[in-house]
Symmetry: C2
Subunit: 122 residues, 2 copies
Amino acid sequence: MTHSPVDIAEKLSLFSEPWSPKTVARLNEYEIKVVKLKGEFTWHTHQDTDELFLVTKGQLTIQMHEGNVTLEPGQLFVVPRGIEHCPVTDGEVHAVLIEPIGVVNTGDVGGPLTAAPDDSLA
Amino acid sequence: MTHSPVDIAEKLSLFSEPWSPKTVARLNEYEIKVVKLKGEFTWHTHQDTDELFLVTKGQLTIQMHEGNVTLEPGQLFVVPRGIEHCPVTDGEVHAVLIEPIGVVNTGDVGGPLTAAPDDSLA
């Protein structure tokens, strides 16, 4: 085990590309990831899992057909499994994502924004 | 589903007692809790699960026989399952805990600091 705290802002300072979640820690069968978000993502669904967003910088709106949720720093939201959603930002957003190991960022739709797993910062 | 963000600081403003985690959201079979910590807790172990601490205010040291970890705001640490640990603070600390539903705060030792499940803020 690594006996070091994970500094969220420091991890986010180590890369710049948006929509590329980086795993920074594991919690049982879950991954704690940091991610930069900028602009609009793609509508997608995770059929088998909820997904937690915790914003640490900027303003993030999670668009959903049931109604949008806008997150400021220090606020979190769990997108329930099966709910189609599409993140969109006002400028650059920094966030923590928590979801089971192996969840793909674009869920069921794939496409060019699909990110490969990246645990280089773990 | 509740279409509202969870504001971590706002939830923490709603109670004062230390060592009493409050569930504020669920992520599949996990609970997201907020907690105030003050002073020294009790040495205990969670044999079956890792436990995530994310500090949002104050300074928290997680004492472990393998070496201590000190967390500042914006830093997180995952205590691995089976590792005996004892949180101790410098003043009052605010933190987010993430662990499976049903995990007891005092783990295997019980005692007077054992908190009942509390989802009144969820």
